[in-house]
């Protein structure tokens, strides 16, 4: 008789994720799934809307990374207007995306994952949160809070509001940075850099502390996909797609994101609303790939900023060339914060960010456009078809969390197989499963709204679906 264990995070908001673990007769884990039962039909209700409104509408896909959707959306719109946007607009958009990466990565690392990493996966659950972190390492906790705030302040200085800034527009942006804000932001940069350098120091110590987690948290070969710039330099806004394998070999390079449908397929599974994209030449599910910080560091030749490049070579030594364990997402995230900060510094020094030539105006010149950018969580595609007047006929969104879907499933299965022995699951093991998903920083409300721990409901059922027992873990307990 095989048993099924369901871990169901109950949230008060729209995101629902659930983990089902299947036990075989001997009580060992046979398989595990990570389901996303969230469907909001964005692609449908965009139909018929004017192109210019798409950025504002799709920014509502996510309250956590609206900036990423804004950028992918306006880039698709740029294609449809067939304009090459003013240089100042490119720089301002880049600044916005880097700020988004900083604030999002800071939240993921300092607020959500650091408590597990610094205090231990088996530490007292009531202390395993930002307070526990603040009392054991106040400097890291405060640095993290201020780092996230710094990212938010840049977004605010540009977009006027933190959530859903409608400041990016087809053809460019809606306004420049003010000289006063620029000076202020420049002043905050050194502190932000030292915060992340300190965290990197801690991260390296932690790697030695968690050899077992490193081995079991989604450690398997996959492809890695992301944007790279000229000479394969780390990229977040423009460029071409590169795909590498788990040994670091380049499988495909110089791929035009606009032709993503030629090389990426989307499989639909009945157990999840997330589509599962794969690399077509290898088929489904062998074409499994990962996106996000881990992938971006694996595919790039260098970061092209001095401090971060030094960290990258050390990272590559430690992970052995290409990183295959999802545990390294955290490490990669910190290095990405560092290079983002260095690049923010460069952009703030550029007089163009104050320029008044920031938006190109044009009519509808193409009927199709694909916009691609790197969201904090990975590569994001917006694909629009419009009619002659610019009204949306069809929309396809390929989101980062979707592309990591297959890898997240395997990660859950791997952790479950490694740590679970029978239907009695210790809290520390539950926490590891949750942390395994959290390593990807999936864009689900459940993963970010519970600042300490995800609320979980575990159901143990036998093969006929009879409930054998329930275990509940609330976020507050």
């Amino acid at each position: 008789m095989s048993r099924r264990i369901i871990i169901d995070p109950v949230t008060r908001i729209e995101g629902h994720a659930k983990i089902s673990i299947f036990l075989d007769d001997s009580g060992s884990v046979a398989d595990a799934w990570f389901h996303v039962a969230e469907y909001r039909g964005f692609e449908k209700f965009c139909e018929g809307r004017p192109l210019a409104e798409m950025a504002g509408i799709t920014a509502r896909v996510c309250g956590i990374c609206p900036v990423s959707h804004l950028l992918a959306s306006v880039k698709a719109a740029d294609r449809i207007l067939a304009v090459s946007i003013p240089p100042a607009a490119v720089k301002l958009r880049r600044l916005l995306n880097l700020a988004q990466i900083v604030q999002s990565h800071a939240l993921s690392f300092f607020h959500l994952s650091a408590p597990d990493l610094l205090l231990g996966f088996d530490s007292e659950p009531t202390k395993r949160n930002i307070f526990g972190l603040a009392s054991s390492d106040p400097e890291t906790a405060r640095g993290g809070i201020r780092l996230r705030q710094f990212g938010q302040e840049i977004i605010e200085a540009l977009g006027g509001q933190k959530i859903h800034p409608a400041w990016v527009a087809p053809g460019g942006v809606r306004g420049p940075l003010s000289a006063e804000r620029r000076t202020y932001l420049q002043g905050r940069l050194p502190e932000a850099i030292s915060t992340v350098q300190r965290a990197l120091g801690l991260m390296k110590q932690l790697l030695d502390r968690y050899p077992e987690e490193t081995q079991s948290f989604g450690n398997f070969p996959t492809l890695f996909l992301g944007l790279v710039g000229p000479e394969g330099v780390w990229e977040h806004y423009d460029g071409f797609l590169r795909i590498t394998d788990s040994t670091g070999n380049i499988v495909a390079d110089g791929l035009d994101p606009a032709r993503y449908q030629d090389f990426l397929g989307e499989a639909v599974e009945t157990w999840s609303y997330l589509k599962s994209p794969y690399y077509k030449p290898l088929g489904y599910p062998d074409g499994i790939y990962r996106v996000g910080p881990l992938a971006r560091l694996n595919i790039c030749s260098r970061l092209d900023t001095p401090l971060a490049d030094r960290e990258l070579s050390e990272y590559r030594q430690r992970v052995g060339g290409a990183a295959t364990s999802s545990f390294y997402y955290h490490y990669a995230r910190l290095i990405e914060i560092l290079t983002s900060l260095e690049r923010i510094g460069r952009l703030l020094d550029d007089p163009d960010v104050l320029s008044l030539r920031y938006r190109a105006r044009a009519g509808i010149n193409q009927l199709e456009g694909v916009g691609c950018s790197e969201a904090p969580r990975g590569t994001l595609f917006h694909h629009y078809l419009v009619n002659e007047d610019g009204l949306i006929q069809k929309v396809n969104l390929l989101i980062a969390t979707g592309q990591n879907n297959l890898a997240m499933n395997r990660t859950v299965a791997q952790i479950a197989k490694h740590w679970i022995r029978g239907p009695d699951i210790p809290e520390g093991v539950l926490n590891r499963i949750e942390a395994g998903i959290r390593a990807f920083d999936p864009c689900l409300s459940c993963s970010t709204h519970a600042l300490g721990r995800m609320p979980l409901v575990i159901e143990v059922r036998d093969s006929r679906g009879t409930l054998l027992g329930t275990r509940r873990r609330d976020a507050t307990s």
Binding site: R12, P138, Q149, G187, R188
Partner: protein, 166 residues
């Protein structure tokens, strides 16, 4: 960085009935433009708020309270809830986090207004205006009494947590 004197934060969802009362209080205080008083009106507290609090000597949180019977104003210590749950941060939790990360906290008070209905929509409390006026009065009295006999800050408190965001 020289600390400013008073920060008054109204917290609540403007579309959750009486939950908005705290914000109504700070909005009417804002109209009075009291010298040395900074007003913030927010739907909720976030960890980043600690970085604002740091810059003030005195802070008053104004919030609606479903268990309260009358308008109350009491000193607030950072003790108490240290467990963050979901995305709701209490004033105590923010103070606790601030204390842990910087070693000092401003003198703090919590003004609460009794809430009856937190249902969707604007507050329909017929006593709302009175409650708000009462809270405003209490806060003004507090500020006046504190300003008359200024709290003596030792130099240590003044320097901790400064040195950034110059």
């Amino acid at each position: 960085m020289e600390k400013k004197t008073w920060l008054i934060i109204g917290i609540g969802n403007e579309l959750a009935g009486d939950d908005a009362l705290g914000r109504q209080v700070v909005e009417s205080l804002a109209k009075k433009a009291l010298p040395g008083v900074q007003i913030l009106s927010l739907p909720q507290l976030t960890p980043e708020m600690t970085e604002h609090l740091r810059c003030y000597e005195q802070v008053i949180f104004v919030d609606a309270d479903v268990s309260g019977q009358e308008v109350a104003l009491r000193p607030l210590a950072s003790e108490g809830i240290r467990q963050p749950f979901s995305h709701l941060w209490s004033p105590q939790a923010i103070l606790a986090l601030l204390e842990m990360t910087t070693g000092s906290v401003p003198q703090a008070w919590l003004a609460t207004l009794p809430a009856r209905d937190l249902g969707f929509g604007k507050s329909r409390n017929e006593f709302g205006a009175e409650l708000v006026a009462e809270a405003v009065r209490l806060i003004e009295v507090l500020i006046e009494s504190q300003t008359a006999t200024p709290r003596h800050l030792d130099e240590a408190t003044r320097t901790v947590g400064s040195g950034t965001s110059k």
